[in-house]
Subunit: 218 residues, 2 copies
DNA sequence: GACGGATTGGACAATTGTGTCCAAAATATT
DNA sequence: AATATTTTGGACACAATTGTCCAATCCGTC
């Protein structure tokens, strides 16, 4: 039996067998699309990586355009779910705000921003957004459209409780995310795989600067 | 006489007319590569956009790989030059640090970060970096490798003069750039063309937060 | 106006990719 | 064990692309 390239989620064993191949295809397609872009990705390459015959891809997912759409939809779901799972741990009533916000930030980095799904999405949307406008709309809605307001709402709550001093929560949310992601993005851009061990430091750096800017002045 | 990809940017006017077409080709190629990626870009599309016959591209620039390399080298030069031109206006001994740093930030946004050249580079390096490792190295050296340390040095200078309180200038530089670019990046990602009129506001937002975090405490 | 290098457009072979068809084989269902 | 469904791999037509060749043409210079 062939194995899939799935470094990701769930109990495949309980699904109908067709779904296994389907998942293998989607994972392989995500990899190849990410590496080669839409134009550069060939169905053959995807089939080979998925350990599946090319025909099976056409049977299950139709043509290349549709395959691409399904992959994006799938990854959008996964990525969004991961983000909101972490968001549930936001420290709305912290004892020690620096410590707890740092911990939360580290989780966000690990589970959401670092996450291969989310990175793939951002890249693909940037590269291929013009080619698939509806897709782009969907991503916009589920990505920035929901994540930033959600963070902003949590920050506003902290401000309302007197933990922070924030005029514009939406702006603060964007700045918080920017501070958090900067080192990760830098590493990504210079092609460096960020070691797990540095993530806590990144979270601490971002949180410290953020709190210095938004902590209440005595 | 064939010319190699060695020489790029100099006073074009004194050159034979062939260099005009060469520039047209490079600009068109940059556009098409940016839109379609390396794999998706066809020489024909580039030729059509440049208003030039396909053969001329092969005459002047050889095959697709070399064309791509020359384009990246060209854009790297332009982008780097633009950045350092703005950097020369950094307020090393400001009277009113908030005002002057805001102005500088606005210039940086307009001339360097907003700049189509730089955006194209980042995108292409992210997408095609794996395919052309030497290119990637060059970009790394001239991009992040020089820009961030340069900003860090200016910030350290401000700190040394007592305008700021900075433990880690390199970190502060990354955070400054992150704060500066966040809204622009957000707009880019949701496919919104940032209006010129909002850039000053972005610069002000970033600068205010940065100074709140790094201004000396009384 | 004649020369020479650059440019053009069209034809070309080779390669690669898409999407379909189909019969044989593997796998699941009953 | 018999049957239904999926999967496979190979063949195929069709289109797009790369890179080359070449004769006709343009255009600036002498």
């Amino acid at each position: 039996m062939k194995n899939s390239s799935a470094e990701l989620s769930r109990d495949y064993d309980t699904w109908p067998p067709a779904q296994n191949k389907r998942q293998a295809i989607l994972n392989a397609a995500a990899d190849v699309f990410a590496q080669e872009g839409f134009g550069g990705a060939s169905i053959d390459a995807i089939a080979a990586r998925a350990g599946v015959s090319r025909q099976t891809i056409y049977n299950q997912l139709g043509d290349k355009d549709n395959l691409f759409k399904v992959v994006v939809a799938e990854i959008t779901d996964r990525s969004s779910a991961g983000f909101f799972r972490v968001l549930d741990t936001f420290p709305v009533a912290p004892q020690d705000i620096e410590t707890e916000l740092t911990q939360f930030s580290a989780q966000l980095l690990r589970k959401a921003i670092c996450d291969p799904n989310g990175r793939w999405l951002r890249k693909v949307v940037e590269t291929e957004g013009a080619r698939f406008p509806e897709l782009f709309e969907t991503w916009k809605e589920y990505g920035p459209g929901k994540k930033y307001p959600a963070i902003a709402a949590r920050l506003a709550q902290l401000a309302h409780s007197g933990y922070l001093q924030i005029d514009d929560p939406a702006l603060a949310a964007r700045q918080y995310m920017a501070l958090l992601a900067t080192d990760l993005r830098y590493d990504q851009q210079i092609g460096r795989q960020t070691p797990e061990s540095e993530i806590d430091q990144m979270a601490a750096n971002a949180t410290r600067t953020f709190l210095r800017a938004f902590a209440p002045r005595r």
